[in-house]
Amino acid sequence: MNVALALLWKDLLCEWRSRDRLVAMMVFSILVVVVFQFAWPSLPREQVETLAPGVLWVIYLFAALLGLGRTFTLELENDALTALALAPGTRGWIFVGKAAASFVLIGTVQALTALVFVLFFRLDWRGAALPLALVVVLADLAIVSVGTLFSAMSARSRFREVLLPILLIPTLIPVLAAAVRATTATLAGPGLTLPLAQPLVVMAGIYAILGFLLFDPVLDE
């Protein structure tokens, strides 16, 4: 547990000092928002509202891929990953620490992107902000769990920039589908109901458990 907290603190501190991943993800996300403005010029209001949840989640997914791809890059320098693997205790906690740091980073970028998105497309989501935040939190738990696991593998492979999306996207399609469904329904009416949140909770739980258990052999050398 202490390992997880130490890693979380270390990763956030490094990020605070360099702001590499945060800035890269943020600029990328805003650029994609702008790209969509040109991809669907002057669409009627209703169509923008219908497409918005899907588009936002596509941006979230790609920005997360960008951030997750860099999760273990620092650890590769001076072979710090080996030292990390030698840390006492269950290696699952290393996974938890890394995933938690990515969770904070990706969540921050998503919140800022959502702000830009609603401003640019003149949407008013204020009433649903809290349930939407819950949807994002649940989906992010699934994304960072499986993302951290695969990132640790792809970081030590050739073509890692290409490999991570190829590994990750098929496993994240159910998360994306459930998140878009929950976002659309939350914006359309009664808010976030249990049947909408349930698939996200189940997937976040399963992916987090798999990540915790399977992280040990990833670091075996």
């Binding site: 492979s157 098929p170 159910p174 459930a178 997937m203 052999p217 075996d220 050398e221």
Partner: protein, 240 residues
């Protein structure tokens, strides 16, 4: 890492392959004959005969995934090389069966559902397509990872996540309302007169073809690693 090579697992694999090969050689002509002689469907005509190929390839695709995940899990647990070779065999043969399923399905669909209907985002079709991508990702992960042992470990992990993904995907796709256009499972008595036998023989033949290919691929991989070990051995003994 414990290593079990051709000398250990190769001999039973060769014997198993010979038995499977003979069964397959016996079944294949019967399969071709029963399909040829099967009555034509009154509505779909000759195209309905894809039924004798398409569902059996689907079972092979899913079975390949199970072999990959179970063998991968065993590799992570016991660290034996032959388990990893079996996992690769499962993924490779599974990919072939999955590809065949994805090719035969649209050919039938275009005929049955009308021109332009090669593909619909039905739950089962979507699931199969994702399964195919997971297979490809598995094989790419292996080829992009340096070091046999590391590639085996990473691939085993991916195989296990992959098999968990199947029920998850099915559930989610069903929830988000994939159009249920794919015919439901063949229910008892739904096959026309004379169609049951070729369907049964088709399933049996393709099952044995699947098993034969798995064992063949497994055996080849074991022989490859034995040859690699043999090539390295003199260098190990004599560093000068």
């Amino acid at each position: 890492m414990q290593s079990r090579t051709a000398s250990g697992a190769g001999v039973p694999a060769a014997r198993m392959r010979a038995v499977l090969g003979w069964i397959l050689a016996g079944l294949a002509p019967v399969y071709a004959w029963t399909v040829w002689k099967a009555p034509l469907d009154s509505v779909q005509g000759v195209m309905q005969k894809i039924l004798y190929v398409h569902p059996p390839t689907a079972y092979g695709a899913y079975l390949g995934f199970v072999v990959t995940a179970v063998a991968g899990g065993l590799f992570l647990w016991r660290g034996r090389e032959d388990h990893d070779r079996l996992a690769v065999a499962g993924a490779e043969v599974g990919t072939v069966f999955c590809t065949l399923m994805l090719i035969t399905g649209p050919i039938w669909a275009r005929g049955a559902w009308g021109p332009g209907n090669w593909w619909v985002w039905d739950a089962r079709l979507t699931l199969t397509l994702l399964l195919w991508f997971v297979y490809l990702a598995y094989l790419l992960l292996r080829s992009f990872t340096e070091g046999d042992e590391r590639a085996a470990r990473f691939a085993s992990i991916y195989g296990i996540v992959g098999i968990v993904l199947i029920p998850l995907n099915y559930w989610i796709i069903d929830l988000v309302g994939g159009r249920a256009q794919h015919p439901q499972n063949i229910e008892r008595g739904s096959l026309g007169t004379g169609m049951g036998l070729p369907f049964l023989v088709g399933n049996l033949t393709l099952f044995f073809a699947f098993a034969y290919l798995i064992v063949l691929r497994w055996q080849t991989a074991m022989l490859e690693s034995a040859a690699e070990e043999a090539a390295l051995a003199p260098a190990d003994r004599d560093p000068g």
